[in-house]
């Protein structure tokens, strides 16, 4: 197990390193002269140089990269050029929107997909199974932002039950905050579910054809008992992996859904700061999100190793 953990840890660190270099180069190399853009086109060369010097942007790129990485590792995400706000504070403010949205969306997707996918697998070859498979196939084709638009037309405009967009902060009214999250979570969750149902269905189908399920049936368990006692536990392994891989997709969905419902989450902050050339803010925030996703995958790998001895002992 120790070797397995070490290998996964090495992969985690390698992934973080590669991602950090990629993000840094992407933003710095393609972004042009930051100080010149910040000062506008009337700025003199001296002013530009002075500002670059103040922000340390005139140092060689590897030095800047190293500096950024060391500070990130110490928990210092840097600060905004213009407003001097700390990136950590900016991010923390936005997490109150983004984290509940992403996590509830994922949870809803899982809660729908596991029972529905299992049901579809048990009814394969019957009409109900085919209908569910078709619904999931259509759901996969629906762009998450269009699902958001349709739900918002139905429940916001036509029925008037929920706000079509905007945000009430938790501190003002937590009922209001939840109300502004219901439709975004629903959009995200339904689309996640459509994708996950397919995986759950094929995982359960695989398990149902295994010898140990036949054995369980032979010793007198009903189909449902066999599935619950030995089937689901084995099917959970691939499902856990897929959920880990879907986290990157989940972040993408959250980014778009925040725009559909004009929620003041991380993605709006990133877009605004990209436009304002706040390179440090963008760099650190994007890196934070990527580290989060890679960390989730790392934890999923560990969990997988704990659940299945064959994986952890494989060379």
């Amino acid at each position: 197990m120790a070797i397995y953990v070490l290998r996964k840890l090495a992969f985690f660190l390698g992934a973080v390193f590669v991602a950090s270099v990629a993000i840094f180069l992407l933003i710095r190399a393609a972004g042009g002269n930051v100080a010149a853009i910040l000062l506008g086109k009337d700025a003199t060369a001296e002013a530009i140089n002075a500002l670059s010097h103040t922000y340390g942007l005139d140092r060689p790129l590897p030095v800047q990269y190293y500096d950024w990485l060391v500070k990130m590792a110490q928990g210092d995400l840097g600060q905004s050029f213009r407003t001097k706000e700390m990136v950590s504070e900016l991010v923390t403010e936005r997490l109150g929107v983004s984290i509940p949205l992403a996590l509830s969306g994922l949870l809803l997707g899982i809660l729908i997909a596991i029972p529905v996918g299992t049901y579809a697998a048990r009814n394969v070859g019957k009409l109900s199974g085919a209908v569910l498979a078709l619904i999931s196939q259509i759901g996969i084709a629906v762009p998450v932002f269009w699902a958001g638009i349709l739900l918002s037309v139905l429940f916001g405009v036509r029925l008037g039950w929920l706000p079509t967009g905007g945000w009430t902060d938790w501190s003002q009214s937590w009922v209001g905050a939840i109300r502004s999250l219901v439709l975004p979570v629903l959009s995200l969750g339904l689309i996640m579910a459509a994708v996950l149902i397919r995986y759950v269905r094929s995982a359960v189908l695989d398990v149902m054809n295994q010898d140990y399920v036949r054995t369980a049936r032979a010793v007198g368990m009903t189909r449902t008992q066999a599935l619950l006692n030995v089937g689901l536990r084995n099917a959970s392994l691939p499902i856990v992996t897929i959920i880990g891989l879907q986290v990157a997709e989940l972040i993408g969905g959250t980014v778009i859904i925040e725009m559909v419902f004009s929620l003041p989450g991380l993605s709006r902050m990133i877009l605004a700061n990209v436009a304002a050339r706040e390179v440090i803010v963008v760099q650190s925030t994007v890196m934070l999100i990527i580290v989060f996703v890679i960390a989730v995958n790392f934890l999923v790998d560990l969990l997988y190793g704990i659940l299945d001895p064959r994986i952890r002992n494989a060379t």
Binding site: A15, A141, P143, G253, V274, V293
Partner: protein, 297 residues
Amino acid sequence: MLPEEAALTDIASPLHLTPALPRRSSLNVSLVVGILLTSGFLVIALVSLFWLPSNPNIPNIKARMTPPFSPAHWLGTDGLGRDIIAQLMVGARTSILVGAGGASIALFFGLITGLAAAAYGKVADELISRGADIMLSIPGMVTALVLAATLGSGSFTTILALSAFFTPSFTRVIRSAAMSVLQEDFITSARLYGRGKLFILARHVIPNIAGVMIVQFTLYFAAGILTEAGLSYLGVGVTRPSISWGMMLNEAQQTVGISSPLAIWPGLAIVIVVLGLNLLGDGLRDVLDPKLKRRGA
């Protein structure tokens, strides 16, 4: 959302490219519906090159907000009086350009890296496979936002972003397909006959994994259309004078509100086309691999 790639990896035995035997008497519904929807989509895009009801970029204030089902504009016009059908038709073209463009570039690089990983030893395999794993764990949408903002938005940046996200998936699928072909006896014979590695890859491996490549391409064509729509909806994808369905949805929401029928048509177009391509991919997977258990819809 990325297509299911796990199920693709077990198509790789070379026997599977033999034309489907009349093994299953029932009709392959996925394939038929997929072909119908996809060819309809391709024909519409093709027609748009030669004929459009009107110029989709020139405003016509007199005709603004024409309701759907009127004789001059079958699906009505938008807030600037531009015909919806004309915009949808040009949007189909963009979807093909960006979706197929992104998937093609990813296929090209995935083929090179996948074959290299499969055929050029453990070190190459480890480097390429771990590299692909790392790239897969980076959320594409966030990186695309940054990419579009630094390089400027447009069709070209969007294709670039898509091919970057899709390449690692192609690498993984092609690697595992090529590996199982390389274990076949006829590869050993070719090697004993004195054939070089590149010859064997080009002459024996690629034709035998063509089925996997076609299926993978089709599914990622669809994924590309979905991602492009998302990016264009955010305003960092395709820009006018090109027209994208995602962009049309954004414009509808910004100018006339979501309850207008303008927010329906482009979404419907995306769903139909992506559904068609996914069904086509699933159907092809069944045909190209008669032995595979049916797992998809």
